[in-house]
């Protein structure tokens, strides 16, 4: 256990030491989205009755920031260690592969939650927010961060260079977040895109997270959480299997 705890602590310390990049910068970017989109669209769009567009937008942006930062945390830490070669410091000790997994995912969750909390609190300053179901909100936040933390590990294990890492971030993670209903409800989409969105796990994360705030959602939160939970489980099992086999680490 002490190995797991140490690695978790090290991962937290790592992003904390560069918090300008890892916390402040995503916070500012997300708030810029909020300012611009709510300013442009506030008067034109109302997704849920009685919910202003800025209020609707905030949970989506919070979730988006959490997902991107959870992913960035585990993936950039691991790829840096691989590229610099200091990954040996983790491979020489008797750390179990599940401890490795748990520590990286837990640290990704912490980073995601810190950024998410920052965005949420800053958002409150612009518009009031309600919290209809805080427990659902928390569950979706945790599930989202953990899922992307695991995805970050897989990506960094697979990637042989920073370029390949960036490719996954830009061509998989970013589109999936943007096309998941951060800025709109999928009901406003044409039927084809609406159907397609239902294959995007991020859609359920955002929808369920929003349910925690407004008590309204496109999909029932229980169904959403089981889908998200299944995705997390599948990703975790895949990550654990890769770590256990030593894929691209022990060779």
């Amino acid at each position: 256990m002490s190995g797991l705890w140490t690695l978790f602590y090290k991962e937290i310390l790592r992003f904390w030491k560069v918090s300008l990049q890892t916390i402040l910068s995503p916070l500012v970017t997300t708030l810029l989205y909020l300012l611009i989109f709510s300013h442009v669209l506030e008067a034109h769009v109302q997704v849920y009755p009685g919910v202003g567009y800025a209020s609707f937008l905030i949970p989506g942006l919070v979730m988006m920031a959490m997902l991107q930062n959870a992913f960035a945390n585990s993936s950039s830490s691991l790829i840096q260690s691989k590229m610099a070669g200091n990954i040996v410091f983790l491979l020489l000790p008797p750390l179990a592969y599940w401890e490795f997994f748990a520590a990286y995912v837990a640290a990704a969750v912490v980073r995601g939650l810190v950024v998410g909390l920052g965005v949420g609190l800053a958002g409150l300053w612009f518009v009031p927010l309600t919290l209809a179901h805080p427990l659902w909100m928390a569950l979706f936040a945790l599930a989202g961060c953990a899922m992307l933390g695991a995805a970050g590990i897989i990506t960094a294990l697979w990637a042989g260079s920073y370029d390949q890492m960036a490719a996954v971030q830009n061509f998989v993670i970013m589109p999936l977040t943007f096309l998941s209903g951060v800025f709109y409800s999928i009901h406003s989409l044409p039927p084809f895109w609406q159907a397609l969105s239902r294959y995007n796990p991020f859609f359920y994360l955002i929808d369920g997270f929003r349910y925690g705030f407004f008590g309204v959602s496109d999909v029932s939160p229980a169904l959403g959480l089981s889908i998200v939970g299944t995705c997390f489980l599948a990703l975790s099992l895949a990550t654990l299997a890769l770590l256990k086999s030593g894929y691209k680490l022990r060779n």
């Binding site: 190995g3 690695l7 070669g85 410091f89 020489l92 008797p94 022990r250």
Partner: protein, 303 residues
């Protein structure tokens, strides 16, 4: 007694390259052992397999009786490895790195030993410096400290003195020697053969993934070493009967290599008989460098 390190018939293939071809070695507890060989011989590959950084294609390894694959947690607990590559984590200070490393080995409060390590490796005043700001030699010392946080009974150092100045080399070896006297088993690789000669009691030589010599340092020197005699002769010619001993000649200087010291008598007698004077003489004891070159020069017998 359980060997400190046991390597049995280990093969390693990288795609088309057969990097290790059936290496078998046993290192006993308390030994100071050298693994020598030219670049690319497979020393690092073998160490990586022992440390679990890489897997053998075939064969088995154990550290203090713990198989490095089946019982990897115990095998890693008893092994400390100083990697060849000068790696560091730019985010953290020396002390942070040593605390993390202790934690990974399950040691919560290890500051007394960490302070001792820092002191012995001359790092005390660098403890709070970020590792990225250290010079190459300092980074190397941090790697040594990191390998020792858990006081491993078996310590493997992969070219620990490459690119390190003389002073540090001396102090590093003094420290490693003390660890060996305290009962730690030491295995090292180095390109400085005089280091291996003075430090190590036993030596394995690796060439193209095969062990081509394995013996005590003493035996290697006795069986493969030659005493070198440099003579300045007046007049500058060598009697015919000494020709077979000649290894090189330059002007009046002749270098002879002798199988045993006793042959010196023959040389003197031959010179006296031929009325040749010796203006200058220098006798050098057999050294490991000559032995190494001689052994490496032989063609490998294939199985």
């Amino acid at each position: 007694m359980t060997p400190a390190i046991e390597i049995r018939e280990v093969h390693k293939r990288f795609a088309s390259l057969h990097a290790l071809r059936g290496v078998s070695l046993r290192v006993e507890p308390g030994e100071f052992f050298a693994l020598l060989g030219p670049n690319g011989a497979g020393k690092t590959t073998l160490i990586n397999i022992l440390a679990g950084l890489s897997r053998a294609t075939q064969g088995r390894c154990a550290v203090m009786g713990h198989d490095v694959v089946d019982d990897y947690r115990n095998a890693r607990r008893v092994l400390g490895v100083v990697p060849q590559e000068l790696v560091y984590d730019a985010f953290f200070t020396v002390r942070e790195m040593l605390r993390f490393q202790s934690g990974y080995f399950g040691l919560r409060r290890n500051d007394d030993w960490i302070d001792e390590l820092l002191h012995n490796l001359g790092l005390t005043d660098k403890a709070e410096s970020p590792t990225r700001k250290l010079s190459g030699g300092m980074k190397r010392r941090v790697l040594v400290a990191q390998a020792l946080v858990h006081k491993p009974p078996v310590i493997v150092l992969d070219e620990p003195t490459a690119g390190v100045d003389v002073e540090l080399r001396q102090s590093l070896w003094a420290f490693i020697r003390r660890l060996n006297r305290d009962g730690h088993t030491i295995v090292l690789t180095t390109h400085y053969l005089e280091e291996a000669e003075t430090l190590c009691s036993r030596i394995a030589m690796l060439k193209q993934g095969q062990v081509i010599a394995l013996d005590s340092t003493e035996n290697l020197l006795r069986n493969h070493g030659a005493t070198e005699v440099r003579l300045r002769l007046n007049p500058g010619r060598l009697p015919e009967m000494l020709r077979p001993m000649l290894s090189s000649a330059e002007g009046n200087d002749f270098r002879l290599s002798l199988r045993q010291c006793g042959e010196l008598e023959t040389v003197m007698a031959a010179l006296r008989a031929a009325n040749i004077n010796i203006d200058d003489v220098e006798v050098s004891k057999p050294d490991l460098e000559a032995v190494f070159l001689r052994i490496m020069g032989k063609p490998i017998k294939s199985h």
